[in-house]
């Protein structure tokens, strides 16, 4: 149950809605009031909050996991990279929670009692794994923030300048945990929750629609402390401004402070001018910053450009461009489990492409974090075209970014650019393989054709005209010149085709056959000369053989009628009699024709596969894992 007291400083009512709240900031005189039993102790005046255009405010209400909550307080913190808010939530069941708001990303967490011990803050490193509540989290962020100010009810004592050593942990399912070492650097408070979709929290009484105080124009528009060029911060959550005139990197909060300076020799002109507004994949965006970065390999520097975009609900997006190849990227609100050579995300495997150290070369514009032009970060790229996961590691932070390849024309159209976009050069890491689609279609068609061919062949084998007309033994004797006459057989249908087959018992012997096929009805005769020979033996290389004991010949264009076959045997006079089996049949579907068709049809998918593989070889040539197989086809085997 809530309790209302009087501010000992100004007498205004101060409400404690949560029994867990021990501190409140008077809304009228900003006195920091510590609850001690029934009394309020005035700890002094709380510093002013910095305007950050957050859509949340005290008094807002929402629901998370089916539980209604109200926003009762806030702590605003500052760290190297900017500001973030921790909104104190009071659930209807009386429990406290926190809504963390940083860079347009929102996380809700609740305090949990966690048995066991955690490493001390100093012993904790980015990438360390910790098990909390049976789930494995990775440390993605380790920093010491500083409290800027607070408002409303808070469950612990804070004040401007209070240090807050915290470590953020994430798991693969979007789970989030915080180890807060503010009270004790050896024993952290543990908070567990998840990344949340802001719009999905069923908000009421948000700050949206409520007039936001205009920022102090003088404070947001000022002269560059280095060259006096006019600078401005178009958004209140801008932390760093980089001067395009002289290269000074200026702290937006302290307009006179130059944090660093970038060499004008490295000056680069963004294709998309700063301040450009557009609509990228159905999201309104504005270009607020531009930076040029590089990596070095074998003594050569490779440069690429990054555009910082402010999207919906202050969410940040990146556009990256390298040699005409564009990517749209977002920071992932979760960790990704990396195994040797690959990572899995969204049930998709991403293969490791390259690892390198990246450094900022040139910056202009506004950045919602503190730009450090001297820092280098370790980057590892994993690709599953058209997507790419990038893992950036610094000493204090691990960030996963998901990028998707974009056509230059899409970028041009999104911002209504009048200039022609640079034509992409070479093959980029996550560039979609242009031959992939063709290969898939051709493979699909190949399987369809093969199935159809098999069905045709099977149907004709079963129901076609091919059948045996005659089968009989026949013996050829070198001492008997009389032709062997077969039994009579009937051939029906016009334009018939028959196959005459002999299977002879030959061993190092030959048999010449003069065949005369006679239509007894018309007296027409068709002739063919055949020779069957088979020789085999052993030599120093082992067994050898040549020839065959079987033979077949086709008679075509035969009219219907009664037929007989006369066979004249020609043999070595010294040979023993040769036995053979004569078979006459109507010709049916040929296996050889099926084989030829399949060989012909398979040429096309083979060609498209080679073409696709060639593209992949080019792609991976620039990676840490170039394809070196002689076939040049080291990719998947999806077909």
């Amino acid at each position: 149950m809530g309790r209302t007291a009087r501010c000992p400083s100004c007498g205004a009512p101060v409400e404690f809605k949560s029994v867990a709240s021990v501190l409140a900031v008077c809304d009228y005189c900003r006195s920091t009031l510590l609850r001690k039993d029934e009394d309020l102790q005035n700890l002094g005046r709380m510093a002013e909050l910095l305007e950050d255009r957050s859509p949340v405010q005290r008094g807002a209400e929402g629901a998370w996991r089916g539980r209604h909550f109200g926003v009762v307080g806030r702590i605003q913190l500052r760290y190297d990279q900017g500001l973030w808010n921790e909104w104190h939530l009071l659930f209807d069941d009386g429990r406290s929670g926190w809504l963390s708001e940083a860079g347009g990303e929102y996380v809700i967490s609740e305090p949990v009692w966690q048995p066991g011990t955690f490493p001390a803050f100093d012993a904790l490193a980015v990438g360390d794994r910790q098990v909390i509540g049976g789930r494995t989290y990775a440390v993605t962020n380790r920093l010491t923030a500083e409290c800027v100010a607070g408002e409303g009810e808070l469950p612990f004592r804070v004040g401007a300048g209070y240090p807050a050593p915290v470590a953020d942990l994430r798991d693969e399912a979007g789970g989030f945990a915080t180890l807060d070492y503010s009270d004790d650097p050896a024993r952290p408070l543990v908070f567990v929750g998840e990344s949340v979709d802001f719009a999905g929290l069923a908000w009421a009484n948000l700050r949206q629609g409520i007039p936001i105080a205009e920022p102090n124009v003088e404070a947001r528009a000022f002269a560059c402390p280095s060259c006096a060029a006019p600078l401005s911060a178009s958004h209140d959550n801008i932390v760093t401004i980089a001067c395009a005139s002289c290269g000074a990197v200026v702290d937006a909060a302290e307009a006179g402070k130059v944090l660093a300076r970038v060499s004008q020799e490295r000056k680069a002109t963004p294709v998309i001018p700063l301040g450009s507004k557009g609509r990228l994949r159905d999201e309104p965006v504005e270009v607020i910053g531009f930076m040029r970065r590089h990596m070095e390999a074998d003594g050569t520097k490779y440069f690429w450009n990054e555009y910082v975009l402010l999207g919906k609900e202050n969410r940040l997006l990146w556009l990256t461009e390298y040699q005409g190849h564009w990517n749209i990227a977002r920071v992932l609100p979760r960790s990704v489990l990396a195994v040797v050579g690959s990572v899995k995300y969204d049930k998709q495997e991403f293969k490791h492409f390259a690892g390198y150290r990246a450094q900022v070369d040139y910056v202009i514009g506004e950045f919602p974090w503190r730009v450090d032009v001297t820092e280098t970060v370790q980057v590892n790229d994993y690709v599953a075209p058209p997507r790419m996961l990038s893992r950036e590691n610094s000493e204090t932070e691990e960030t996963w970014t998901l990028a998707e390849y974009a056509d230059p024309e899409e970028i041009r159209a999104a911002f209504g650019l009048k200039v022609a976009m640079r034509k992409p050069l070479g093959v980029y890491a996550n560039q979609p393989n242009p031959h992939e689609d063709t290969h898939r279609k051709v493979c699909r068609r190949f399987w369809s054709f093969l199935l159809a061919a098999l069905l045709i062949h099977a149907a004709l084998l079963v129901g076609g005209s091919g059948r045996a007309l005659l089968k009989q033994p026949v013996v050829f004797d070198p001492n008997d010149d009389e032709p062997r006459l077969s039994r009579e057989f009937l051939l029906d249908g016009a334009n018939g085709r028959i196959e005459v087959q002999h299977e002879a018992i030959l061993e190092n012997n030959w048999l010449g056959l003069g065949l005369t096929l006679v239509n007894k009805d018309t007296g027409e005769a068709w002739q063919a000369a055949r020779e069957i020979s088979y020789y085999a033996g052993w030599d120093e290389d082992g067994h050898w053989s040549e020839g065959s004991t079987s033979d077949s010949v086709v008679f075509s264009g035969l009219p219907a009628g009664h037929y007989m076959l006369a066979e004249d045997g020609d043999m070595d006079p010294a040979s023993r009699p040769v036995s053979a089996t004569l078979q006459v049949s109507r010709v049916g579907p040929r296996w050889s024709s099926l084989a030829v068709l399949v060989l012909f049809l398979v040429v096309f998918p083979f060609y498209t596969r080679v073409r696709r593989a060639g593209f992949e070889v080019t792609r991976w040539a620039d990676s840490d894992h170039p394809i070196v197989t002689s076939s040049g086809d080291g990719d998947d085997d999806d077909d």
Binding site: K441, G464, L594
Partner: protein, 48 residues
């Protein structure tokens, strides 16, 4: 490419179906398609 393959494949499949129906094999050995008339002597041989 995929469309050309569709057309070429359909043509090849049609040719295959016709050939299989007719029993035409690409590797068949063929007897002479020219017929001749039996002599009276030969006729008597086949009309025993």
């Amino acid at each position: 490419m995929a469309r050309a393959y569709l057309l070429i494949g359909l043509f090849a499949l049609s040719l295959f179906a016709w050939g299989q129906y007719r029993g035409v094999g690409l590797f068949d050995d063929h007897a002479s398609s020219q017929s001749s008339r039996l002599t009276p002597g030969q006729r008597s041989t086949f009309h025993k």
